[in-house]
């Protein structure tokens, strides 16, 4: 009677190699072309995981097929280990959640030794999310990662609202954002995505600033700063007092910001914020995103990103769309 969606329900890719660019080959059998390109890097489909919601794919990889994804975006990593915030670190909110993990991470050494080694075998693109407390921190980590052949792209998080030093100053001031971008670009040997904070008045201005700094792409949105009070305990729901709101609740805001950013810059835009399925993802693509990320939805459904990728292909087949590029920015 029970219907299961366990790992063996999905056939794993037999290539095993990390030559994720060989997507054309596989898509030959299909009617639709789902591949997209971000700064010269081809993704077999536009669906990636949102940083911090998927670890480095080790845990979800036990349940789901990473090779069905366009890319795995890892949890933010810094030059040294960070302890993160006190608990409670999360709270549920209507159709969403708040988090203040505080960018806990094991530091770049452990990350390269363990997480990148794991991803070596994954048949998907690898995007490493980087956090830092100073420009030097970002550059040190970016430089270390540039030497790793498994890293396809870097995503620089200048938008985490949880830690004072976590980059919010960079993410909220166009001049700072441009400086970080330029500094990282000087040391990075792979294309660099700048991840933008929605906690600004003018998202177009921020997107333009990082483009001017040399960013190869922008991704948005990170979480929106929120607060929840536990009325029975008469205190904050999160130890950090404030936290970043994510999930379906923020989706309309995210779609609007992606649309604005896509119209402000020439570099590709990666859209995220509350995506749970192909229909949600298609809104972002049509608003101008070249790729999308699924984050919080994994907590409700471990297969959310894989289903989103498959659903986009199914939508294209149904609607008779041969190439996904026909959809990107089609609503103008």
């Amino acid at each position: 009677m029970t219907e299961k969606f366990e790992s063996d329900a999905f056939t794993r890719s037999s290539t095993g190699a990390h030559d994720a660019g060989r997507t054309e080959e596989r898509n030959e059998n299909r009617k639709v072309r789902t591949a997209v390109e971000i700064a010269g890097v081809t993704l077999k489909n536009p669906v990636m995981t949102a940083s911090g919601t998927f670890g480095s794919g080790m845990e979800y990889g036990q349940l789901t097929d990473l090779s069905a994804l366009g890319a795995v975006v890892t949890k933010g990593v810094a030059n040294v280990p960070w302890s993160g915030n006190d608990v409670p670190r999360i709270a549920e909110t209507p159709s969403g959640m708040m988090n203040a993990i505080g960018l806990q991470n094991p530091g770049i050494d452990t990350f390269i030794r363990r997480d990148l080694a794991f991803l070596e075998k994954a048949d998907t693109r690898v995007i490493v999310n980087v956090c830092g407390r100073s420009i030097q921190d970002y550059c040190e980590t970016a430089e270390r990662l540039s030497g790793e052949k498994r890293v396809d792209l870097l995503e620089i998080n200048i938008s985490c609202p949880n830690v004072k030093e976590g980059g919010i100053a960079f993410g909220q001031d166009p001049k700072c954002a441009m400086e970080v971008t330029a500094a990282v670009k000087r040391v990075a040997k792979v294309p660099v995505i700048l991840k933008l904070s929605p906690n600004v008045t003018d998202i177009a201005e921020m997107a333009k600033a990082v483009e001017a700094g040399g960013a190869d792409a922008v991704s948005l949105i990170n979480t929106l700063t929120g607060m929840k009070i536990d009325i029975h305990r008469r205190t904050f729901a999160l130890a950090n007092r404030t936290g970043g709101v994510s999930g379906p609740a923020i989706r309309p805001i995210a779609v609007r910001m992606v649309y604005q950013a896509a119209h402000a810059v020439k570099i590709p835009v990666i859209g995220m914020g509350g995506i749970t399925c192909a229909e949600d993802a298609l809104e972002f693509l049509m608003a101008g995103a070249s790729a999308v990320a699924v984050g919080t939805a994994h907590f409700r459904d471990p297969f959310a990103s894989v289903k989103t990728a498959r659903g986009i292909a199914a939508f294209m087949e149904e609607e008779g769309i041969e190439d996904i590029r026909e959809l990107i920015g089609c609503v103008d």
Partner: protein, 259 residues
Amino acid sequence: MEAEKVFARALVLGQESVGTQIFSLLLEEKTVAALAKPGQFVSVYCHDRSRLLPRPISICEADPAAGTVRLVYRIAGEGTREFAALKTGDMVEILGPLGNGFPLEEAEGKRAFLIGGGIGIPPLVELAKRLPGKKQIIAGYRDELFLTQELSRRGELFIATEDGSTGTKGNVLDCIRENGLTADIIFACGPTPMLRALKAYAETEKIPCYLSLEQRMACGIGACLACVCHTTEKDEHSQVKNKRICAEGPVFEAGEIVL
């Protein structure tokens, strides 16, 4: 690779109230039932998609032969209220079994205390079933008792109630002292103040003690770092003395954690 955990739609075989606001939910899910170890839990998902985080609930009983899993939970908010309305024949999504479970092998040849407080009592049922050796179960309640039949069938049961309506008036440690009980190892699940007291007790008695912890969870599988607890030593995963309760726990050796 054999699956360690599955995301599945489980069939509700039945649900009954076993106390005020406390429910016992019997699910059919063969893989979870076959894999489950005492002390592990499952993530239970709400039908109402506006509540997107799964609710972690301990496995109270798992019967591999029947392919069933029993969960016993207290209504604590809207999610558990939704579960309480589940009827025979309904489907509910679960992910599990999750976490490490109690280290049964540590009890070999030892006299064990199985200690539960309040809604921490349910996992003791499967633990009592599978733990080798002599076991004494100490269950602490506010006033109303539940699961006492299941427990007394599998070990010598001692009860403490806050109001003294049954057994020792007071907490589980008062019960241990009043009955002059001793053991070589402790397994416990319950509210943090109880766990803290047991950790101190085990240190004085110089006996090993395994505690099952709780924390808010999102992924339930170790990916999001929501559910950490502080540890005394730097661990391999975090490198910062933060273990994930859902992955390295929920059961920890008391000396390993800072409560």
